[in-house]
């Protein structure tokens, strides 16, 4: 993300349809997928199609894994610690599977929940990425679509500007 101010061009486009056309043209002109960032205030299905088939299975597995971690933590918390400290239960068994099982159930859910949160924050790049500049932010909030392009060379910059000019976009 170096030299943002020199290399990054952000266009505010009025409608998702125009943004779609603009990005299509940018791809045709040779811009790489990673260099183009679209930002909007609602999910735009047209741009999200590429994600649908891929990562779905991975996330579910991770969440299930989180559930197992929760179960493990529950067993450690209830069974192992109680046995290790030689809990004096006064005649009751130290470990009661059905009762401790309820706690295992709850911590499985908690593990899955926390894993979902962590992988979402991580994969969405939240906490790591910078938010848009205030003008762009305001435009997005009003329903426009922002398209940011990384232009390493002067030529690519003018190409991008030309494409954006066609949709009557404001460029920063």
């Amino acid at each position: 993300m170096a030299d943002e101010t020199v290399e990054k061009l952000t266009a505010i486009i009025d409608s998702p349809l125009q943004a779609q056309e603009a990005t299509a043209e940018l791809y045709e002109e040779g811009f790489a997928r990673e260099d183009i960032t679209v930002m909007s205030a609602e999910p735009l299905p047209a741009f999200m199609s590429e994600f649908d088939s891929r990562s779905r299975g991975g996330a579910t597995l991770l969440v299930i894994g989180g559930g197992f971690a929760g179960a493990f933590a529950a067993v450690a918390l209830t069974v192992w610690t109680a046995k290790r400290m030689g809990l004096v239960t006064g005649g009751m068994p130290i470990v009661t599977p059905w009762a401790f099982g309820i706690i295992v159930y709850e911590l499985i859910a908690l593990g899955a929940i926390l894993t979902t949160l962590v992988i979402t924050v991580y994969e969405a790049g939240l906490l790591r990425s910078a938010q848009p500049s205030p003008e762009v932010d305001r435009a997005i909030a009003d329903g426009k679509v922002a398209v940011a392009v990384r232009c390493p060379t002067e030529i690519s910059r003018s190409v991008a500007e030309a494409i954006f000019a066609k949709s009557g976009a404001q460029v920063y």
Partner: protein, 454 residues
């Protein structure tokens, strides 16, 4: 007033963010009154902690009364969010969009308040942390056999899950608020929105997370109220020791939760002028769900009492009659009227299932369900097996004040919430109403039939 700007993002923003950016004098008044009552209740609690439970109406044999009633009641109310947000999301019901956040907020606040009561009712409340498993000098661990220990884990899991479930869909709206505010507010929203910019990857991950959470939170919610019901069902007292309590309480919780949601929605609609967003159709659909739950509730209650009556066990029958025709009968029949007799006709006929109609039904149901919890707890405790020890219960000002104080606390939290965040999920609402000509895919349901850029 709103009709012309329905599809205009800017005007939707104005409508839905109005509560955040403009404060009327009624808001200040509400917060002031609710805050004062809340503080008075807090003082009452401190007084009780100092003098002892003697200042409450609790006695031998009625060792649990108002506080535990409130505990179960608020945990029950918290099932509103789960039903609306999670089940309706999972089933793809589009009409849920304007009401998800309102419901999720109810869940979080109701849980927070419900979780206070196990502390309030303790004889030595300053030692409540002994329920937490931590290495202590006492060489002890909590007794995981106790339903109260299960309560601790269940409620904390549900609370954590609900807060995350409320927070995740809030992030895009926090970004919007960040864009539109200045100064210290902007900094806070920036922090809370975690740098959200709204890229397609972020949207995809967020929606996926919400989908996964919706699936996880439903079994958690079911287990939470089941475990709360087991505080009673696991005891051997007559009319408590019943296997029906698990499902009975879950049904009752969803029932009271939807009713509370309708009441909250009706108030928000009026106060924040959201007539175009919280429409009669929402109240109609929720009203239908409420009707179903009312019938289910009646089914469970009828089963519970019929089997007790038919079994004719002396200890149980004493309690049965004390509720049906004895000292508790006014409350019992008020409960039946509030939960079944009044709501069912109102909700069954479309002509009556208006916003006002559902509001009346829901208010009655909220009161009736509070009575139901009270009637489960107190009559059983007042009539122990050894009849020499029968007692009675009368609440004192401390219990009444704390009860009212927690309602005030709920209102306070909700008022603060509406001031900080939009009560209708703006992005989710817009996603649902996107007209065909502004996007490649006409509707959300066809989004999976991907059309890539050509």
């Amino acid at each position: 007033m709103i009709a012309g700007g329905m599809n205009d993002a800017a005007s939707i923003n104005t409508d839905l963010l109005r509560s955040v950016f403009r404060t009327g004098k009624w808001w200040y008044l509400t917060v002031l009154i609710a805050g004062s009552v809340m503080l008075a209740a807090g003082a009452a609690f401190l007084y009780q902690a100092y003098v002892g439970i003697a200042v409450a109406g609790i006695n031998r044999p009625v060792y649990w009364a108002f506080y535990i009633t409130n505990f179960v009641f608020w945990i029950g109310i918290s099932h509103a969010g789960t039903l609306i947000s999670a089940i309706l999301r999972v089933t793809g019901a589009e009409w849920r969009r304007p009401i998800t956040r309102c419901a999720e907020a109810i869940t979080v606040f109701a849980l927070m308040i419900g979780a206070l009561f196990p502390i309030i009712h303790l004889g030595r409340p300053w030692l409540f942390y002994w329920l937490v498993p931590y290495p202590s000098e006492r060489g002890l661990w909590p007794n995981f056999r106790s339903p109260l220990a299960w309560d601790f884990f269940a409620i904390n899991t549900y609370l954590t899950g609900s807060i995350i479930y409320l927070y995740l869909p809030l992030i895009p709206d926090l970004a919007m608020l960040r864009a539109k505010s200045k100064g210290i507010r902007r900094r806070i929203y920036s922090l809370l929105s975690l740098g959200w910019s709204g890229t397609p990857l972020q949207w995809h991950r967020l929606e996926r997370a919400v989908r996964i959470m919706a699936v996880i939170i439903i079994p958690v919610a079911v287990s939470v109220h089941t475990i709360v019901s087991w505080d009673f069902a696991m005891a051997i007292q007559p009319m408590w020791h019943s296997t029906i309590f698990g499902p009975y309480f879950v049904v009752g919780a969803i029932f009271s939760g939807i009713a509370a949601l309708i009441v909250a929605m009706a108030i928000l609609r009026k106060v924040f002028h959201l007539e175009a967003y919280l429409k009669p159709v929402h109240f109609n659909n929720l009203g239908l769900l409420l009707l179903t739950m009312s019938l289910l509730w009646f089914y469970f209650t009828f089963s519970e009492y019929l089997t007790g009556y038919y079994g004719n066990e002396p200890a149980e029958m004493q309690i049965f009659w004390s509720k049906v025709s004895g000292p508790y009968s006014p409350l019992f029949w008020a409960m039946v009227v509030c939960c079944f007799i009044i709501p069912v006709p109102i909700l069954a006929f479309k002509k009556l299932r208006t916003i006002t109609g559902t509001l009346i039904a829901s208010t009655g149901i909220v009161i009736g369900m509070w009575l139901e919890r009270f009637l489960i707890i107190v009559p059983t405790l007042a009539a122990p097996r050894l009849t020499f020890n029968w007692g009675h219960y009368r609440p004192t000002w401390v219990e009444i004040l704390i009860t009212i104080g927690t309602v005030a606390y709920f209102i306070f939290l909700y008022a603060v919430f509406t001031k900080l965040f939009p009560i209708v999920a703006v992005w989710e609402y817009k996603e649902g109403i996107r007209p065909p000509h502004t996007s490649m895919e006409p509707t959300q349901s066809e989004a999976t039939a991907a059309v890539s850029a050509d």
